[in-house]
């Protein structure tokens, strides 16, 4: 079997398994899987910036929240329908990433982390200050009328799962295509050696900005979908925690692997869900698992697997 066939085979198999899961799993896990798929889209976006282009951002919560509020505010204040609201959320994530990128990409490394973190914190506080428009710290419920997409009520289980699945499948296939495209190779080149890429004639600023905007579009789409599928928009999603989460998903699953973000989101979700049933200190368990990961498999699960056995894994 050629590598190309293996790559497509594995990714399509994952999608088929996820599609089948809704018929096989109990309803609790089906809804969890819908959440995980949306969060995985967020993490896939983070992976485009961090895993493939080497941009270690601490501000992705801002892009996620931009998508969430970009969708939610028009539904609340302007009574927009779901489709234009979702598109608005997607674009808001990309636009926010573009604006932040124009300024933050003048820096690199640790400075880039700090600048993106500060932008995200400013965004969070803006949401609190504009309380009368945003619902402040309490947030707001997305009206049921704004959660009907193309005739499907996203507040019900099957349409919600299918919407999350379609978004995830689109995100995954697009990511697979992107990282294997010439531009994807240039992204990796930026990560590996920016100076050499510049010498070869590529404009690092332009490449990194494009990657960050793509990353923001993913985060925006995930934020908009999360708000619409689960009916709530709130400022908590703009806190630092939601910048750290996609990073953890990516590190756990494997930075620079297409399926890594999903695997990381899946494992992290259930790690918290299961351990919280046994101990109050479940975040300690999560922390210990991550320390163990960094010590013994610093490239994440799929990254390590690729290194040791599956060299064709994108």
């Amino acid at each position: 079997m050629t590598d190309r066939a293996k790559v497509w085979g594995v990714h399509l198999l994952v999608l088929a398994a996820l599609f089948a899961a809704q018929f096989l799993l109990p309803s609790y896990h089906v809804t969890n899987l819908a959440r995980i798929m949306v969060l995985a889209v967020f993490a896939m976006g983070y992976n485009i910036a961090f895993g493939y282009t080497g941009l270690l951002s601490l501000g992705h919560a801002l892009f996620f929240a931009a998508g969430m509020y970009g969708m939610g505010l028009p539904v609340w204040h302007l009574e927009w329908l779901s489709l234009p609201a979702l598109i608005a959320g997607l674009l808001a994530g990309g636009a926010m990433a573009g604006v932040v990128g124009l300024l933050a990409l003048r820096t690199a490394g640790v400075s880039f982390m700090i600048v993106t973190l500060m932008f995200a914190q400013a965004g969070y506080l803006t949401l609190l200050y504009l309380n009368s428009w945003t619902g402040g710290d309490e947030g707001f419920v997305v009206a049921r009328s704004g959660r009907v997409l193309l005739g499907f009520d996203l507040a019900t289980d099957t349409p919600r799962f299918m919407a999350a699945f379609v978004l995830f499948a689109a995100g995954l296939l697009l990511c697979l295509w992107l990282v294997r495209s010439p531009f994807g190779r240039v992204m990796v080149a930026m990560r590996e050696n920016e100076e050499r890429s510049r010498m070869l004639g590529y404009d690092p600023f332009r490449v990194k900005l494009t990657a960050l905007i793509l990353s923001g579009l993913y985060a925006g789409a995930a934020g908009a979908a999360y708000g619409m599928l689960f009916g709530y928009v709130g400022a908590t999603f703009a806190t630092i925690q939601y910048s750290i989460l996609p990073m953890l998903y990516v590190l756990l699953g494997g930075a620079g692997t297409v399926l890594g973000p999903f695997l990381g989101a899946l494992l992290m979700f259930y790690l918290i869900d299961i351990t919280s049933g046994y101990t109050d200190a479940y975040l300690f368990v999560v922390g210990a698992a991550l320390v163990g990961l960094v010590l013994f498999a610093p490239k994440g699960i799929l990254g390590t697997l690729r290194e040791r056995a599956l060299r064709w894994l994108p």
Binding site: N32, N131, A235, D273
Partner: protein, 426 residues
């Protein structure tokens, strides 16, 4: 051998006695419970995160109420269980916990969350799962119409009712020119909007509204903004910053003339009034949802409740005098569990197919007289807005203790309905 055994063979009379005793035991000690499946209640608990101080006491209160309910025969003759799940005081996890309690633990209903953002984040999922969701949150979001038919607040009054009912007493006894200091986010804005309206309606005047950003750790630059003609300083700071706020307020006024000070006990829930730096609060007044210190006129039910939840006369744990309770709020958990019992019994609740009947039974409730089920005082439930109304207490700090000086009437806390949930479909 056979001979020996014959000597041990019980007589017919002894056998009958034994059988009778067995039947009696089965009949009286464990009524129908041997066969009846327990009623399973889910508790969405702030065990970790910013609500942990409340969560710790909410869990203890729920356990105490559970013991009382089970000792009194359970619900509809069935024993009651509570499944606690930590939501980390986070709305995303909150919605997941609603899912887990409903779909995985198969709970009959869910109750217990306090923090507004967790409630607002979780209520949509409760509505979709069609599971009754009884919150103990104080927020105006239930009565304001933001939630749904399955979400109710029958155990505690909301902030709008609280501030509106206290304004007349503040104006009549402390002064008519009020300066408000509040955190600059939704909780503070509720106070700003509803207290200002109530003060103006009562002929008073809010001379300044000082909004403090949520990230602030020092208040010295805000204190000079308090106008000199302020007669009453109304504060409602929350979180660790409150100790700094009060300390800096004390340093700002020193021993000179100062306005009357009126605060919300939310600022000092689970905090010992004898903490260093709080001396300045001597002589000031506080709103309390339920009096932390056992009052001279405490009812027998209040006394029984205090003993059941393990709180001493000063409001701290009986096992650790430094572990101060969240007494002003935690009664809501006790009362909510008793309302669940009353609602399930009124609707003849048998299982999850009867969830709708349960909601309708609670909606039909009106008067809730003071009793062991309603230890904080009598209340009136508005089935249309899913919100309960009750008395509020104003206490004065005397000798480092909160002594009740006024009880508001229920009528003072009422306001026009903003929603009629009973017109919404299930």
């Amino acid at each position: 051998m056979a001979q020996d055994l014959i000597g041990l063979t019980p007589s017919r009379r002894a056998l009958l006695k034994g059988a009778g005793a067995g039947l009696l035991t089965a009949g009286f000690v464990a009524p129908v419970w041997a066969q009846a499946a327990p009623v399973k209640l889910g508790f969405q608990l702030h065990r970790t995160g910013i609500g942990a101080a409340y969560g710790r006491w909410y869990e203890r209160t729920a356990q105490a109420a559970l013991k009382v309910v089970n000792e009194a025969g359970g619900i509809n003759g069935r024993p009651v269980e509570i499944v606690f799940e930590d939501d980390g005081t986070d709305p995303k996890r909150g919605a997941e916990v609603v899912e887990k309690l409903t779909s995985q633990h198969k709970c009959d209903l869910i109750f217990g969350p306090l923090f507004s953002h967790v409630v607002i984040g979780s209520a949509p999922r409760a509505g979709e799962l069609k599971v009754p969701y009884l919150v103990c949150s104080e927020g105006f979001h239930v009565a304001g119409g933001m939630l749904n038919r399955w979400s109710m607040q029958p155990g505690i009054t909301d902030v709008r009712a609280q501030v509106s009912s206290m304004a007349p007493w503040v104006l009549a006894n402390l002064g008519k020119k009020v300066t408000m200091v509040f955190p600059d986010y939704a909780f503070g804005h509720d106070h700003r909007d509803y207290f200002t309206a109530a003060v103006e309606a009562g002929g008073g005047q809010v001379v300044a509204q000082i909004a403090v950003p949520p990230t602030e750790t020092s208040f010295t630059r805000y204190l000079p903004q308090i106008p000199n003609d302020t007669e009453v300083l109304y504060h409602v700071m929350v979180g660790p910053a409150v100790l700094t706020f009060v300390k800096e307020l004390g340093e700002f006024y020193g021993t000179g003339a100062k306005p009357e000070i009126f605060g919300f006990i939310d600022s000092l829930e689970a905090v010992d009034m004898a903490s260093p730096g709080l001396e300045f609060l001597e002589g000031s007044h506080f709103w309390e949802g339920h009096c932390r210190v056992k009052q001279a006129d405490a009812s027998e039910h209040e006394i029984a409740y205090r003993a059941a939840v393990g709180v001493d006369d000063n409001g701290a744990s009986v096992s650790d005098a430094k572990d101060v309770s969240t007494y002003a709020h935690m009664f809501s958990v006790w009362e909510t569990l008793h309302i669940i019992k009353a609602g399930m019994e009124a609707s003849g609740y048998q299982g999850i197919a009867d969830r709708q009947k349960f909601v309708e039974a609670v909606e039909a409730m009106t008067e809730m007289p003071e009793s062991l089920a309603h230890v904080q005082g009598n209340k009136v439930f508005n089935g249309k807005t899913h919100q309960v109304f009750g008395h509020q207490f104003i206490s004065k700090v005397e000798g480092g203790k909160l002594i009740k000086v006024h009880t508001t009437s229920i009528e003072e806390s009422l306001y026009p309905d903003a929603v009629d949930y009973t017109t919404q479909s299930f």
